[in-house]
Every structure is written in structure tokens, then in C-alpha cells.
Subunit: 425 residues, 2 copies
């Protein structure tokens, strides 16, 4: 028995991991018809996958300057951009309040909007990160009382979600709310109001303002805390009637790869809320690991943290294992890798898929071999049968069909299993 407003739902079946990834694939039978409805018989058709339905993402922080024509190293950035676009179909852009609006009333909107459009024009889904967070918080909030901080926070959400609507329609509405009210590393305005309002009212504030500014937006609750604490928060938020569109689970593995067992255990616990899961922040290192005793990863400050041959081989294996595990679970909808090149990587860590010089590590090739190899349909020439049908099997996503002598068309495979489609050209 739940309250009237509750959005908590009992765990549903159908969330069993399947390493064969059958739940990610469809077998499409497409009937191609000519302009007057007649079957296009015995005709060559080139089928070409255009896009994955699954979100293969990576932060786009390193391309903001490039997208703005303000690169400080154009040669590096061009190769970087090509390799980025070759692999990913989703990105996360930085909206850390303390940087986005370091001076009150002067938000970095134009530069970020240009960057967001650059991605969107290339077919990349863009997410903004985050609207509410206690870290990298606007320093000028510290001069306000709590009522003013809350008002400023609400206005900030409405302004940014509104101004980016249509380009950015996915947001990490709030980040790390589990620790937010008891975060002690530095005084900040967001912790102050979260402590006073409580976590759930703070989460509600983030979601209701973002929803008001962009009712169609996809809003995430995002956290690094994979313990029962995050479960308790989620249940409280759902019970309070706040709709969570997607659950964000971080997985910065600076202290070592979780392994399949722990990853599936985490997925099992969080999948039970019947909310699609985004692995929002994934890092795997190609160098020494961070010591296990470090609590807040930000506490580990080193001058040099090199990528090593041994580390790169390990990283490639772990990237493959992590992505295979995540895709095996039907609840996971996307993975966002946290940093593309070791140049400018968070914490100076060797977590990129490219080295600092921009060259691909084995992990890049390995992930590419999955995303654009094993899980990708190479351009294939088929021939329609007497009823104008071609059949092919592939990962859910968008496919171009180009019949010989006719303009190409596209189909989208959204549901696993057998799909029967008809296209009139």
C-alpha cells in the first residue's frame, strides 16, 4: 500500500541479464514497395546501419572550444573530433554552476549553446550536467540567505533548461543528492539549502523547475553512491510523487574495475524501480589504480599519472567486459564514458580512450570493435524476393535501405525480436 501520489512500482519481471544481447537485436523483414504500391521484386538493396538505439556516449567537454572555433590546438582537436564522432552517439556537456556562471548574471550560455548545436547537428544526443550540485558551486551564493539561494537555484534551472530546450532535452537534474546535505569538504550554498530543506524537497525543486521549463525533457537523478543509501533516496523521491525519467549511476573506477558480479548486483538492485538506467560516468584507468582507502576521489592529487602498456592492455579488457555486462542488462539504456583523451582528464588520471597525444589506446580500438564492429551491421547488399522483401538482423537503431536505382529510405528498429515493416518508395 502506497500513498496516492506515489510513483513507486513493484519490481517487474523481464530484467534478467542476457549476455547474448538478444534483447538488443531485431530481425527485420522489410517489404519495399514502389510508388504505386507494387512490390520491388528481385532488386539489390544496400542496407547500412546509421545509428545505435543504445546510447554510446562520452563527455564532450574537450570539444567545446573546437565547436566554437576557438581551439588552442586545432590539429589535435580535429583528430580528436573525428575519433570522437566515429565512436559515439551521445554526449554530456558541462553546466557546473561555479564555472558556467562564475559571475552572477553572466552565464556562459552562448558558448555552450554553440557547442551543443555542433553535437546535435552531427546526430549526437546532448545531455546537460548538472543543474543542482554542491561541488563547483557558484561562490556568490555564499553571500545569500537560504531563501535567496533557493530562489537563485530555481531561477538558474528555469533559465538554462529553457534556453537550451530543443538542443539539450536531457539533464542531470540533480547530482549526488545522497551526500548533498552532509557534504563537508567545502561550504557551499547548495549544501546549505539541502540541509535545511531535506533531500527530497531539494530533488523535487530540481525536477519541478526543469520540468516546468521543458516539459518534454528527460530528467535524471544521478549519483555515485551505489549503496542502499541511493535506493532509500530513490524510494523516498518516488513515494513523494516526483517522476524520475532515468536513473543515473556513476561508475568512476579509479580504484579498480568493479567486475561483472558487482556490476550485475548493482544493476539488480537499481533495475527494480522500473526506471531505465544510464551509466552516466564511467572511467577505467590504463595506469596505476588509486589506493583503496581514498574516500572522495577528489582527494587524490598527483603530478604525474602515466598510462602504461600493461595498464592499457588491462583497460581494454575491462572496457570490453564493462560494456558487455552493461548491455547484457535490459534496463541499461546508455553508457557515458568520462573523458576521451588523457589530456585534460579529471584528476589527471589516465582514464582516456586516447593517450594525451591523441593516439588511440587499445581500449579505443576494442570499444570501436564492439560498437562499430560486432554490434554493427556493415553495409550489406541484399536482394528482394518475389514479394519485395529483404530480411536482415541487427542491433536496435536506424538503418538506411538503398534499392538500386531508387532513392534511399530509412527504418528504425525499436523493439527486439521479429519486426515486419513496409516501406513505400
Amino acid at each position: 500500500m502506497t500513498s496516492a501520489a506515489s510513483l513507486f512500482t513493484p519490481p517487474a519481471t523481464g530484467r534478467t541479464p542476457d549476455p547474448s544481447l538478444a534483447h538488443r537485436r531485431a530481425t527485420a523483414t522489410v517489404t519495399l514497395l514502389g510508388g504505386s504500391g507494387e512490390p520491388l521484386r528481385d532488386r539489390d538493396v544496400v542496407v547500412r546501419q546509421q545509428q545505435h538505439a543504445f546510447g554510446f556516449g562520452c563527455i564532450g567537454f574537450g570539444l567545446v572550444d573546437h565547436a566554437n572555433g576557438a581551439s588552442t590546438d586545432p590539429a589535435f582537436d580535429e583528430v580528436f573530433a573525428d575519433r570522437w564522432l566515429e565512436l559515439f552517439n551521445a554526449t554530456t556537456l558541462p553546466f557546473y554552476w561555479g564555472r558556467f556562471e562564475a559571475e552572477r548574471g553572466r552565464p556562459d550560455t552562448e558558448r555552450l549553446l554553440t557547442a551543443a548545436k555542433w553535437f546535435a547537428e552531427r546526430g549526437i544526443t546532448v545531455k546537460g550536467h548538472p543543474l543542482v550540485w554542491h561541488t563547483v558551486c557558484a561562490p556568490w551564493l555564499l553571500e545569500m540567505d537560504n531563501a535567496e539561494i533557493e530562489r537563485a537555484q530555481r531561477e538558474r534551472i528555469r533559465r538554462d533548461v529553457g534556453e537550451f530546450a530543443g538542443v539539450i532535452d536531457t539533464w542531470d537534474a540533480i547530482n549526488e543528492a545522497v551526500i548533498m546535505p552532509v557534504f563537508t569538504a567545502e561550504d557551499n550554498g547548495v549544501t546549505r539549502i539541502a540541509h535545511e530543506m531535506g533531500r527530497i524537497a531539494t530533488v523535487r525543486m530540481a525536477f519541478e523547475e526543469a520540468r516546468a521549463a521543458n516539459p518534454g525533457a528527460t530528467l535524471l537523478l544521478n549519483d555515485f553512491d551505489m549503496s542502499t543509501a541511493y535506493e532509500c533516496l530513490i524510494e523516498g523521491v518516488l513515494e513523494a510523487g516526483v517522476r524520475i525519467d532515468r536513473l543515473g549511476l556513476q561508475s568512476h573506477m579509479h580504484k579498480g574495475y568493479w567486475g561483472e558480479e558487482r556490476t550485475l548486483e548493482v544493476l539488480d538492485r537499481f533495475a527494480r524501480y522500473n526506471i531505465p538506467i544510464h551509466f552516466t560516468e564511467t572511467t577505467l584507468l590504463s595506469g596505476d589504480l588509486m589506493p583503496a582507502h581514498i574516500g572522495d576521489l577528489n582527494d587524490w592529487q598527483v603530478d604525474e599519472w602515466p598510462s602504461t602498456d600493461e595498464g592499457e592492455a588491462r583497460q581494454a579488457d575491462e572496457v570490453e567486459r564493462h560494456y558487455r555486462t552493461l548491455l547484457s542488462h535490459p534496463s541499461v539504456e546508455s553508457v557515458n564514458y568520462w573523458g576521451f583523451s588523457d589530456r585534460g582528464m579529471w584528476l589527471n588520471a589516465p582514464g582516456g580512450l586516447l593517450r594525451a597525444d591523441g593516439s588511440p589506446k587499445p581500449a579505443y580500438d576494442r570499444l570501436h570493435g564492439l560498437v562499430k564492429g560486432e554490434w554493427w551491421l556493415e553495409p550489406t547488399t541484399l536482394r528482394t524476393d518475389a514479394d519485395g522483401r529483404v530480411a536482415f538482423e541487427g542491433f536496435l537503431g536506424d538503418y538506411e535501405l538503398a534499392p538500386a536505382g531508387l532513392p534511399a529510405t530509412s527504418v528504425r528498429l525499436t523493439v527486439p525480436g521479429a519486426a515486419h515493416l513496409e516501406v513505400q518508395l
Copy 2:
């Protein structure tokens, strides 16, 4: 901004720890009047503390047989009972469903009611523990579907809370809800329904059934998890409009005393909900500590776990430090020690205040020296002044005033600071 039903309140001030315990003391000025209202001048009055307002509790499991006249070792139990009653004013009795009603429909009501009355008749406040818990759960629930389990659980709460009302008016309504839905050590009916209903609906079930059966009862949410997980649960429960009368914090310190700093940090985080805190389950060992790597304390099974001289000295110090720390915090209302003698102690641990042979350890004497010494007003003869007044200072609680040649009377000090009372004899 919280929802209409929310019971979350912003943290209030006035919760600063004070090692002087001034917030636990009152300075009473009592005017004694004779039958026709005249001041009783220049008269000797013996003031005698009868009871502490603070709850100094201990589990009473070991006295259930004794209270029922069914002791298997009367000599031991009589001494045990005397020492118990000499120190404590509150107890917790066991209502573990799997033992209380091992066979469906045959609850152990009579025996527990006799025991509860035995304590109540001696001025001891009795709490029942717990109404909902996944451990020591009724095994016969496993044959039911979830709807039947929920119905049985609701009926159990109503029945027991109703049948004990007036004798037991304080209940651990639900125990360890943080881990309840993901508890994996053994399959049980309560975890099944908590997993399906979610934690908050499960907590609501416990509180609403207990409240319905005994509207005046004091109901606790009790947990061992002192992390942000418990905070998140509490906030979700309050936001959902479920009233928590008292917050129960366990402190089984089998792996070592927390120390003042951690204890006060925990208190600071949980006191902010403006709900009085009960330290419901305190254990400190007088022998070897449990290794730090043990997760669930129940996993540590040993044949012998002796109390040692060194351990007893350490335990005495730690008991004193722990009680001083807890009393220093204005939010703490009671402490319940978890086991009185090493005989029959949970996990076979040397956590008692008495040894297995019933003799007092130094910790018993140390705690007694506080509760009935430093924090207690010895019988004191005062003399009324010309207005019939006597003044004394003492811990909040009940005091008997016996004027020479007249029947004794009682006053209750409930508010710290100066108290002015008038008593007509």
C-alpha cells in the same frame, strides 16, 4: 518547499552537546504548604531521588523466565534481577516473530505479558522489539503469497500492540528497514514484501497498524545503519507523512568503541530531524574485538569468547565515555544496553555488565557510579525557610520530599534550569 503531508522539519538550533549536562539538570525551589495553605516553616525535609527522566535501559530478555516464576537457575536470577533493578528504569522485551509465534496462531502472549507486567510494576518502562523485521522471521510466511504475508504482518502488529497496550506503550515499529528489501542472508517473508512494496510503504504499514491499535503509543524507527542511507530513509518516511515518534540508533560496538568524535558526528546528523533519539542497542565488549572486516555481526561465530581483565578495564572506560557522550547531546532521551550478563549474550560475546557467573564487571560499577552516584541525588535533609521553601539541584526526574512528621510527597522535574513548585500536603 515540501509537500502538504510532509513531516520533515528544518534543523533547529539548541542541539549543541554540553559535557556539563546542564540541560539534564534542574534547580528546584519547592514551597511546601500545610493543609490549610500555610507555609511549612523551619522544618526538616528529606529529599530523595526516585527516578531519572533519562531512560537508562537494558534488555530484559534474561528476566522473562524469572518474571514467570519459571527460572531454571533461581539463585542466579534473583541476584541478576536485583542488580538489574538497581541500575535501570527501562527495558526492551523480545517480540521476534519467528520465536514469539513460531507456530501460526499460538503467540507467546501470556508469558511476555507476565514479564512486561513484572517490569511495569517495578516502575520500569517497557518497549517491545520489533514488530517488523526480516531476521528471526516467522518461517510459515514462506508458504504464503505476498498479499497474504502483508495481511499476516498487519494482523500481527494490531494483535500484539493491542494486547499489550497499557503495559507496553513503546515499540520498535520496524527494525533495519534500510537493508530489509535487499537482505540476502536468508529468504524470509518480510524481505519479500518490503522488496515489492518498497521501504516507505513497509514503514508506513508498521506505523499505521501500531498507531491504530494503540494511538498513544511511542513508535520508533530503528536501524543499525548510521550512514546516509538511514538519513535518506528517514527523510523519505517524513516526506511521506509518516510520523516517527523516536529515532532508534543501534550501537553494537563489537568491532570497537566508536569514540566521542564519531558518536557526536552521528548524533549531529540524526538530531537534525528534531526527533528525540533513543540509543536502542548498545554493546561494548570486555574481551577481544570482532575483526573489522566482518560485515553482518551474525557471521562471527565462535565457541569461546572470554571476558578478560584488560578487556573489562577498557569496557568500563568506554561505557563511561559512551554514556557521558550520549547524555551530553540534548537530543538523546535514552540508552538501552544490549545484554546484562555474559550468560546468554548475543553472539556469545563478552558484552555484559555482569560476568557469566553474575558478578559485576567494572563497567557495571562504573555505570552505577554515574546513574546512581554522580548523576543521582542521595537522600538529603534540607530545612524549609521562613516561606516554607527548600531548594535542591538534581537531574531531571522524580523526587520524594518527606517533611518531618508529615506524609511524603513527590515532584517531577521535567525542564532544565530553574523550577519553582508548590506542594500542598
